[in-house]
């Protein structure tokens, strides 16, 4: 779960199809434009390959594929969000990175029973900020599930 001690949570907001998602800023290393991706054979389909991130070979996951949303070709808006979780560092391909927001912890609600297209497993909660609805991503689950796939 996200830390509840502080009253506000700083998040990076990104777009995937019609939905807006959020990742706590502590888990984000940087946001990059799409560059040449080297395909890695015999890995799950959502693993797009690896990139050269300033000398570090970094794996890239296509979040659309990961969540089973139909894929679209990359455009000017497409971004790679480099996230770090413990020893693991990966890039997530998203449609666009929109915003950095402080959301009040109080506004976060547990994930609703049914969420369109995405398994509730990957979600920590939903936050309402003004008219926007932000889906808080559970990074552990997003990254962990594939590890078992690979193993």
């Amino acid at each position: 779960m996200v830390e509840v001690r502080e009253t506000e949570l700083k998040v990076i907001v990104f777009q995937l199809k019609d939905e807006e998602y959020a990742i706590p800023v502590q888990q984000v290393r940087s946001i990059e434009k799409v560059q040449h991706i080297t395909r890695v054979p015999r890995t799950p389909k959502f693993v797009k390959g690896v990139i050269n991130l300033r000398g570090v070979v970094t794996p890239i996951i296509d979040l659309r594929e990961r969540f089973g949303i139909e894929s679209q070709s990359f455009n000017e808006q497409t971004r790679v969000i480099i996230v770090a979780l413990g020893e693991i560092e990966v890039g997530l391909i998203v449609d666009a990175a929109n915003d950095v927001l402080d959301i009040p912890v109080k506004s976060i609600e547990p994930p609703p029973e049914v969420i369109e297209a995405i398994e509730a497993d990957y979600i920590n909660g939903v936050a309402k900020v003004g008219k926007r609805l932000l889906i808080l991503l559970n990074l552990e689950k997003v990254l962990d599930a594939e590890k078992s796939v690979l193993a």
Binding site: V40, P41, V56, V57, K147
Partner: protein, 676 residues
């Protein structure tokens, strides 16, 4: 404090290593006092350092050890294998303490027992062991406690022939005994009436000066029976306990034989090689002088800094590749010249940095003599370990990994290879088996060989076992060469020992050895002749971080194949591809080599038209070969090996990645995984 702590730990480890080495040396030449002095110096420094740093237990134990060494130095204590066992165990304790400190512990340890034993040795007593079994061992083999020279042994023998009995008498005085020297005198008086005192421990002079605790041992020859001797001594007052033990000279001979024989063998060898030995010592002296001179000019650098330097340099190598590419594209002569110059300089720099990370294999080898000694004692075998080329250097990353495989192979050689002394004698071999550990450079590789003059590999037994264990099917047996049969012992779940011993034989060792070495980019082979021994030969790359590769293109994707696995490249006409058992093969220099289409293996999206010629990279894994079919060869290049990170672990047939001159990532193909 912490900065001193690091130095303290490093230096302590060095001193302990010196002590270990010199103790082994001392065991071979118990008379050589210069060795004792060497140990004493190291122990003394260690004591001083640990006292300064406030590690009391460490200082105390070292102090106790120092006392014993001092005794040896002053001829008060005789060096025996048992004594060395105690000192070795003390060193083990010291090592454990230093390690505990290094891991952030307080370096405390219960060393009561060892300290007690050391104290007893110091006082010239038989160390009393806490455990019952060891006590028995001491009782049944008193010869090891009271040591006898050739002269005393002759007396014992002659006395026996003349009908005398030999007794070893242990006399313990009462704790409150006031005039110990007087009591000793009275005991000697009594014994001299009954027979003749041959030897005492501690020596008579020390007994007279009361330089002993409460106990002493006297060896006498007499015609009187045990009981009478016992009663006579008990008549002396203030004596607490007397133990009279009859010495069977013959039995004593066999028990004793081990020690002098060993020295004899050594002596014989020495006399044969006098000239060589002299030369060697001279050389050694030169080496030490050389080492000392070199030592003055070195500084300690934290390994982390070297790693950082290496990483930075790797970045440079990537940019170098990029520059080379740009200059080729622009074809500007001055740029070309500058880039070429820079490339040369950076190659030199690369050599220097790689050399800086090189560590002599000595750091791994130097723990083996102790291990071999212990194993030999445990197994009741006689083994001489020869280490050759300990100064050979290897990259630190390889050094860190190579220790365990070598331990496995050495244990294997000692446990399975070298026979028991009786067996060896029966076969007409010297009782003492020889295990040679040899390291040397050759080309871009380092070779480490473990050679024993033991039983060798019994091919029949190996085959039988392999069939029983399902490692190989009966049909395939006929096609195997001798070498291939030997290599079966590397298969997992294989063990040829008739009974499982503590040391090896659970069949988990050798396949792990093979895997570890292959994961380092090396290989291991066996050469064995039944009856006369085996050689295990390990080939390792000099470094792991920068490797030479062949870049190839498969459709639009670039892959790198390590040069170390490539035999050669070839372009083959499509018509020359043959079919055998649903497998495409080619006839390559008279050998049938299966083809692997990397396009299919790596599921590369097809974009290009098929051509009439196949570009094939012939790679090998040990004896096996395969032809990897690619679309085109790009060329040979030095690249920096990078890991795929912690997320993508265990990707099939990919051992890592590298960054090319244009900044793109190319995957490195793991040929070992492709060849089954």
């Amino acid at each position: 404090m912490s900065q001193y702590l690091e130095i303290f730990i490093d230096e302590s480890k060095e001193h302990l290593q010196t002590i270990n080495e010199q103790l082994l040396e001392l065991e071979k030449n118990p008379e050589d006092l210069s060795i004792v002095n060497e140990i004493f110096r190291s122990a003394h420094t260690l004591k001083g350092m640990s006292a300064t740093m406030g590690f009391e237990d460490l200082a105390n134990l070292t102090h106790q050890m120092e006392n014993v060494l001092d005794g040896i130095r002053n001829h008060k204590i005789v060096v025996t294998a048992d004594l060395l066992d105690v000192v070795f165990s003390a060193v083990d304790d010291l090592e454990a303490m230093v390690n505990s400190i290094a891991e952030g512990g307080d370096g405390k340890r219960d060393v009561h027992e060892v300290v007690q034993q050391l104290k007893q040795i110091e006082k010239g007593e038989v160390p009393s062991f806490a455990s019952e079994t060891k006590q028995e061992a001491v009782n049944t083999a008193p010869a090891l406690v009271q040591t006898y020279g050739e002269f005393e042994y002759n007396i014992l023998q002659q006395s026996k022939e003349q009908g005398f009995y030999a007794y070893e008498i242990r006399v313990k005085l009462r704790a409150d005994c006031l005039l110990k020297a007087a009591r000793v005198f009275m005991v000697f008086e009594v014994l001299n009436q009954a027979g003749e005192v041959i030897k005492s421990n501690p020596p008579v002079e020390q007994l007279e000066e009361e330089q002993f605790d409460q106990e002493f041992i006297v060896t006498v020859v007499t015609k009187e029976p045990t009981e009478q001797i016992y009663e006579r001594i008990m008549k002396v007052s203030e004596i607490e306990e007397v133990v009279v033990h009859a010495i069977d000279v013959d039995q004593f001979k066999s028990a004793q034989e081990a020690v002098p024989k060993e020295t004899e063998v050594v002596a014989a060898q020495e006399s044969e090689e006098v000239a060589v030995t002299v030369e060697k010592t001279e050389q050694k002296e030169k080496e030490t002088a050389h080492k000392q001179a070199a030592a003055n000019k070195t500084i300690r650098v934290n390994i982390e800094r070297l790693d950082i330097l290496m990483n930075l340099f790797e970045e440079l190598v990537i940019d170098r590749g990029r520059l080379e590419q740009i200059s080729r594209e622009l074809n500007h002569p001055e740029l070309h010249e500058t880039v070429e110059r820079m490339s040369r300089i950076s190659s030199d720099l690369q050599n220097i940095i790689l050399n800086m990370r090189m560590v002599p294999v000595e750091t791994v080898f130097n723990r083996f003599p102790r291990m071999v000694r212990q194993l030999a004692r445990d197994l009741g075998k006689k083994i001489n370990l020869e280490i050759i080329g300990a100064e050979t250097e290897l990259d630190r990353t390889v050094i860190d990994e190579i220790g365990d495989p070598l331990v496995h192979l050495l244990r294997n050689a000692i446990d399975h290879g070298i026979e028991m002394p009786e067996v060896r004698r029966a076969k007409g071999k010297p009782e003492e088996g020889t295990v040679k550990l040899k390291a040397y450079h050759s080309g871009n590789h380092v070779f480490i060989e473990i050679e024993d003059d033991g039983a060798g590999i019994n091919r029949e037994k190996v085959l039988q076992k392999a069939i029983n264990k399902g490692v190989i099917s009966k049909q395939n047996v006929a096609n195997l060469t001798d070498k291939q049969i030997c290599e079966l012992i590397f298969a997992s779940g294989f063990s040829t020992a008739d009974k499982i011993s503590d040391i090896s034989g659970r069949g988990v060792g050798l396949d792990v050895v093979k895997n570890t070495i292959e994961s380092l980019g090396g290989s291991v082979t066996i050469d064995s002749e039944e009856g006369s021994g085996s050689i295990f030969s390990i080939q390792l790359p000099l470094t792991l971080s920068i490797i030479s590769v062949m870049l190839v293109e498969i459709q639009h994707e670039k892959y790198a194949i390590p040069l170390s696995s490539i035999i050669e490249t070839a372009i083959i006409k499509k018509e020359d591809v043959l079919h055998a058992h649903h497998q495409k093969v080619i006839d390559f220099r008279g050998k049938v080599v299966p083809l692997l289409f990397l396009k299919d293996v790596f599921e590369v999206p097809a974009v290009k038209e098929e051509e009439d010629f196949l570009s094939v990279v012939i790679v090998r894994k040990g004896e096996k070969m395969a032809g990897l079919v690619v679309d085109s060869f790009i060329g040979q290049q030095e690249v920096v090996l990078k890991s795929l990170g912690n997320y993508l672990t265990s990707v099939f047939a990919i051992s890592g990645a590298t960054i090319l001159g244009d900044g793109q990532v190319a995957l490195i193909i793991d040929c070992n995984a492709l060849i089954k």
